[in-house]
Every structure is written in C-alpha cells, then in structure tokens.
C-alpha cells in the first residue's frame, strides 16, 4: 500500500479545482546507487479521479514525472461536500486510493 496522497478540492463558480500531491519515488531506472548499480524503474503508471461515480480525469505517467507527483485539474459541477476519489497504480502493482470532500 502506497503512502497517502494530499488532495484539496474546492468549488468556485461551478468549477471544481482539484490539487493532488502523491508520495512516490518515481525512480527513472537510470539512476545509480552508491555502489554503482542501477536502481530499477519504479513509477506510478496510471491515475484516475472519480467524482460521484463518474471518472473526471485519467492520467498515464512515464518515469519523467517528478518525484512526489503533483497534479492540478478542473471539472464542471461538483458541490461542496461531494466526495472525490483519486487512485493510482505503479509498475510494481502497488496501489493507493484516497478520498476528499469538496470544500
């Protein structure tokens, strides 16, 4: 189970803005450790955000997304108190899912 995300979602003028900060190493597979051995790639590959059972964003990441990936997106609709669920899966099959209420 991955580390928890920090998610903020706020609605203004009918547009909900969602800010997500994931905790993940996002190893490129190109870095060498102190002994000179390659550190294998380890990265989030897929991400999905769901609002009231409807997918509002899908993302696919390569290894070039920065460590602790940050993401902002906006969708129409959404009312204060609605739940938004964000889930990711990485290339080792690890997953994380977190939920936040729109403020």
């Amino acid at each position: 189970m991955g580390n928890p995300m920090r998610i903020r979602a706020a609605v203004q003028d009918g547009i909900t803005e969602v800010k997500i900060l994931m905790q993940h190493e996002m190893e490129t597979g190109l870095r060498k450790d102190a002994e000179g051995t390659l550190v294998p790639a380890w990265n989030i590959t897929e991400l999905k955000a769901v609002h009231n059972g409807k997918t509002v964003l899908e993302g696919h990441f390569g290894t070039a997304v920065s460590k602790n990936p940050y993401l902002v997106f906006r969708f129409k609709g959404g009312v204060s108190g609605d739940k938004i669920t964000v889930s990711w899966i990485d290339n080792k099959g690890d997953t994380r899912s977190d939920e936040v209420a729109i403020s």
Binding site: L30, G62, A64, S66, F73, I89
Partner: protein, 156 residues
C-alpha cells in the same frame, strides 16, 4: 489487430494479476487501463518512435494551446508545466520532452465536463523543447517551448 494487441498484453504477465484484481474492484476499468499503444509510447526513445506509437501521422502547430513552462529551470528534477487547450473537443493532452531518455512524460484523458487543463511537474535531463500534444476529434495539434536546464533531473 485489437485482439492481437490484447494477446500480447495478456502474455506480459505478472503486474497484470493486480490489474485484474483492481478491475474487479472497479478501481480501474478494463479496456481503459494499460492501453497498449500508450505503453509502447512510454517505452519509445525518440520523438519519431513516440509519435508513431501514439498514432500521430499528421501534426499541426496550433496557437490555441497554451503551454506554460519556465524559461530556465535551475533544477531539472522539478520543472512545472501547465497545458491548457482551447481547441474544441480536446480529448487528450500529452506532455513530451524532446531530449529525455523517453520522450513521453505523461498523458491525460479528459472526459466530457473536465476542462482541458492540467498542471504537473516533470524531470528534464537537459535543455530541450517541451511539447504539448493535443488530441481532439482524432486529430493531433502541438505547441512547443524551450526550457533551459542548468542541472539535469535524470540519473545521479
């Protein structure tokens, strides 16, 4: 064709077990996850391989795409990028870094009701063009800006 791709995906094995469980949980919908063309695109090294994997055959420069990047990135490990598209029916945004070991950094799919806007942060190995590629109604459009990198963000 589609079936062949699916066979290939099934053969690639281990990680997919978890995907099957996730599908069952409804976390990640089958068919949406691990679209094979995208996996090939993320593995591609050069710009031409990447575009081919994404099925881009014609590409137009378009000023209705706003790409916001720093002119100079002091730390290539964290380069903020914002893309927004005013092109109607924008379905997908792809972020590409021309001189990275793998050109494709991330892709985003926007269902109806989601604004074609995204902010994220990427790693850049060296000074390079950053390209925002938009797919709208099956056509591809792009805009590009150069980011000067003073300390690379890949390798160690």
């Amino acid at each position: 064709m589609i079936n062949l791709e699916r066979r290939k995906a099934l053969k690639t094995g281990s990680g997919l077990g978890m995907l099957a469980i996730l599908s069952a949980m409804g976390l990640i919908q089958p068919g949406v996850s691990l679209a094979n063309y995208e996996k090939n695109a993320f593995d591609a090294k050069s710009m031409s391989e990447t575009l081919e994997a994404l099925g881009v055959h014609a590409l137009e420069d378009n000023s209705s795409i706003r790409l916001t990047v720093p002119e100079i990135a002091e730390n290539g490990a964290v380069v903020p990028i914002t893309v927004s598209s005013l092109i109607e029916h924008t379905e997908q945004i792809f972020v590409l870094v021309e001189k990275n070991p793998n050109v494709l950094a991330a892709s985003f799919t926007f269902p109806e009701g989601t604004e074609s806007f995204v902010t994220t942060r990427v790693k850049m190995r060296e000074t390079s063009l950053v390209i925002a590629l938009i797919k709208a109604k099956g056509k591809f459009y792009r805009t590009a800006k150069e980011v000067k990198v003073t300390a690379g963000g890949c390798g160690g």
